[in-house]
Each structure stands twice: as C-alpha cells, then as structure tokens.
C-alpha cells in the first residue's frame, strides 16, 4: 500500500491533492425528507459521494422467527449501485464488503435506537451508494442516522461517522478514494454526539499508538461539524410541504 505515489499525496506545505489541509473535511451537504414512500429518508453528498438512505419502520418483522418479543429488530443494509464507481459497471447484489459494512452499521444503531419501544417489529434501514469516492461507510452511517430521526423513531442520540487516515506519514482527516488507495492507513469511526462514545471503529494499515490517539481526537472534532449539518438538515426537512423529491444534482458546501 505504501509506495511512491504517497509522496505526491501531500506536499511540503501540508496541502493535499485536492487542495485540503490535513484536518479539513471535504464539502458536505445533508438533506432530509427526499423520498415519498419511505417513513424517513436522507441524501448525503460528501465530496463526490452521493448516498441515499431510506427507513421503513417500525413495521412487521418478516421473517417472523427473527422477531424479538422484547425489542424491535434493527436491520441496516448497505448496498452499492452498479453505476456508483468511476471504474467498471458493478455486479448486482451485495458484495462481502457490503455485507460486512451492513453488519457494523446495524450494530452502531443498535446502541442508539430505543428498540424496546416496539417489540416484535423490525426497523429496516436501507442505504444505497449512488456515487462513491472514498469514505462511503461514514457517509452511509451519517445518512442513516438522519433518515431514522426523520422517521420519528426514538433514538438516544444522533450519530455520525468520519474517517481518518494516514498519507505521507501524516495523520489526515477524511480520505478521498485516491488517498485511501495509495495511503498508509484508513480508520473510519462513528461517534455519539452526547458523550463522544465510539459506536463504530475499523482500521487497516499501520498506525503507531500516538497516531491512533491523534486519529481519535481528530475524528471526534470533525464529527461535531457533521453533527451540526445533520441537525440543520432535520430542522429544514420537516418544514417541507407537498411531494418530496431527491435533489440529486445538489452541490455540497464547505464545512465550517
């Protein structure tokens, strides 16, 4: 993973390929209430990523044997559309990577959704990646959180996720796809906004102990900014009237 291209990923002045500082997020825009059928929905445009989340629930749990008499079953499904990548046309059906991401994202939400309120039901969260450019699982989790809140499903918190990585021996925030491909580590994390608890944590590559700590702090700081965008999206979303639509062409904005 670590070879010559890393030298170009970050220059002497600490500026990255796309012009960002080492602790700077890509441009993000979050919009809620974009689908008519789903109980809750959200579009997250994060850099070049475009991720759509739709929630149904609480609803009847099918298959019945999955239902729990104590709580609702939270099922998240992360899926990539075949036209989402810059490269070839993708295969249909979830890959092993998609299945793994579905699991860790579901588990993050099991922590925050107050599922005991709706026993024997299911809360289904579907996240479709319509366009991908690195860091899709973080954008996906962020979108899902807004969609779940949009549906009025009780949650202890609004959670969001941010990835930190290492390129050119420097810990940097929010890797783009190129930085991830040629970088030295990728470390996505999800945080609860109330107390900074970590609800999703994955990591690959090589990091020293100090670097993991730097990464945690850097990600948590950034997650507060994303959280502010989620709150804004929810407050604007519920004011919407009439037929809902997905503004897929919308441009993301610089995160303050």
């Amino acid at each position: 993973m670590s070879n010559d291209p890393t030298k170009k990923l970050i220059d002497d002045k600490g500026i990255r390929l796309d012009g960002r500082q080492i602790d700077q997020l890509r441009d993000v825009k979050i919009i809620s209430r974009v689908l008519n059928n789903a109980d809750g929905s959200c579009l997250v445009v994060w850099g070049k990523n475009k991720i759509l989340a739709g929630v149904y629930g609480p609803r009847e749990c099918i298959p019945r044997h999955d239902a729990s008499p104590y709580r609702s079953k939270v099922r998240c499904r992360y899926n990539m559309a075949p036209f989402c990548s810059l490269e070839e046309h993708g295969r249909s059906g979830p890959s092993r990577r998609s299945q793994e991401l579905s699991k860790v994202i579901s588990e993050a939400f099991e922590n925050v959704i107050i599922a005991e309120s709706f026993p024997k039901t299911a809360i289904d969260v579907f996240i479709d990646v319509l366009q991908s450019d690195g860091g899709t699982r973080c954008a996906a989790l962020t979108a899902a959180a807004v969609a779940i809140a949009d549906a009025g499903i009780p949650c202890k918190d609004l959670v969001c996720a941010v990835a930190v990585g290492k390129i050119g021996d420097t810990v940097v925030l929010d890797l783009s796809k190129d930085e991830d491909n040629f970088g030295q580590s990728d470390n996505p994390m999800a945080f609860a906004s109330r107390n900074g608890d970590v609800l999703l944590y994955q990591m690959d590559g090589l990091l020293t102990r100090e670097e993991t700590e730097t990464a945690l702090k850097m990600a948590q700081e950034a997650s507060k900014k994303i959280h502010a965008l989620q709150v804004e999206a929810l407050k604007e979303g519920f004011e919407k009237k009439g037929i809902k639509f997905l503004p897929l062409s919308i441009k993301p904005e610089q995160v303050q």
Binding site: I114, E116, G152, I153, N195, Q230, F238
Partner: protein, 247 residues
C-alpha cells in the same frame, strides 16, 4: 419559545421523567424530532402510532376466523377483534372503526365496539398529528365537516374516514394542509379562512358534529389538550423493559 428538538438534543440539565425523552441519569435529551413547547412538553412531529387503551382506530379486516378478525391498522401492531367483542359480523376488506380494549406488553391490540364504515374512502395522516386534526374541543374537525359536507371520522392511528357524500377532494386537501402545518400556530384560523375561500361558506361558527354513533372514546378523548396525550413514553438509560410500562 417553541423550539425544534432533534434526537440527542439536551432538554434539561438534570435527570427528568418527561415523555419522548431519555435520561442518562445526569441530563435529559429528546429522543425524536419534536417541538419543545413553552410549557416544557415535548411534542413529536413524526413517528409511529403508539396505541393506548380507549383509542378509536380505523382499519381493514385482513383475516376472518371463527374466533374473530385480524385488523390492519397501518402500523406494525397486530390487531385482533374477538367475535365476543362485537355484535356485527364482518367480511375481508371491510373498513371498520373500533375502540382499543387493551394493549399487551408486546404491542398486540385487542379491539372492541367495532362498527362497519361504508360509502366512503380513507385518507392518511401521520399519527402524531391526529390531535391537531381533531382540534381543541373538535374545533378543526367541525370546520372540515361543515365545509365539505362529509362525515369525517378520525382514527388515532392516522386513518381518516371520509364519507362519499360531500366534497371528498377538499377534505383530502385540508387534511394534507394539517399534515404540513400541524406545528405552526394559528392553523385553525388559517384553515377556516382557506375553507371559506374554497367553499364560499361562512366558517365562523361551524355546527357541532354529532358523534353519538361513534364509539364512546371519540367523545372522551377530546377533553385532552390539543397536543399531549399524556402518554408515559419515558426512556431511562440502558436497556430497560420498563419503557413499555403504561400508567
């Protein structure tokens, strides 16, 4: 000052027991997208139907057995009308209005006092906005009935029956307005103006709709205030089945 709350937003600096909130023992946070009223109540703006005893609900008969009927009320809850609880008999797909006799800890509902609804169609509104559609002392529903000339029955589950006689599409339009603007104050006055403009009728003193043919809870529930339903939806920190308790 009414402000909008989102899940995880702080509502109090201390641990409190308040509907639609969650406490970790130190502070209290909202759990759903809601309004924080000046009286300190959390009013949800969105969310599933939460059935409680005595609610009037509207639904469809989805299965018919010797022992009774399965009823679909558009929520995840299983709903059953025992043959012993009704003098009428129903067929598959019949639209009925009934009262909730009891809800068990898994959310399964037992119905009673069912009657057939016919010659009409259904509209839907988000269950949390039903109090707004009924209005204080039936104010909103009286306006709609008078303006449209339809008989309108509102189920607490968000299903609204509108009779065929009268202006059905105006009723639908008015319900959509309540759905969009339930959180904005002065809606009853604006609705009166809107209906007056649309129908040319005088909306200042709409006649009281006669509800004596409806199950009795419809009359009883309107004595509650406009928004709250006094439901104990508290969520204490950690896993606790006590969150399903009802007072």
């Amino acid at each position: 000052m009414t402000r909008i709350l989102v899940p995880g937003e702080e509502v109090a600096q201390s641990s409190q027991r308040l509907a639609y909130t969650y406490t970790d023992g130190q502070k209290t946070y909202a759990t759903v997208i809601s309004l924080f009223s000046p009286e300190g109540k959390v009013i949800p703006l969105q969310g599933p139907y939460e059935p409680i005893m005595d609610d009037a609900v509207i639904g469809f008969v989805s299965d018919s057995r010797h022992s009774g009927y399965d009823v679909q009320i558009g929520s995840a809850n299983k709903c059953f009308l025992s043959s012993r609880e009704t003098r009428s008999s129903f067929k598959l797909s019949d639209m009925i209005m009934a009262r909730i006799k009891s809800v068990d800890e898994t959310g399964t509902i037992d119905l009673t006092d069912a009657r057939l609804l016919k010659d009409g169609q259904l509209a839907k509104i988000s269950p949390v906005k039903v109090p707004r559609l009924i209005g204080k002392k039936n104010s909103m529903i009286n306006l709609l009935s008078h303006a449209t000339g339809c008989q309108i029955y509102v189920g607490r589950n968000g299903m609204v029956f509108i009779s065929n006689e009268g202006d059905f599409s105006l009723a639908r339009e008015a319900i959509a307005i309540v759905e969009d603007q339930a959180h904005i104050s002065g809606l009853t006055d604006r609705m009166a103006q809107f209906l007056a403009d649309k129908t040319g009728k005088d909306m200042s003193n709409p006649p009281e709709v006669q509800y004596d043919s409806m199950p009795r809870s419809e009359g009883g529930s309107h004595s509650r205030d406009e928004y709250s339903r006094d439901r104990p939806r508290r969520h204490s920190g950690g896993f606790s089945r006590r969150s399903n308790e009802r007072r």
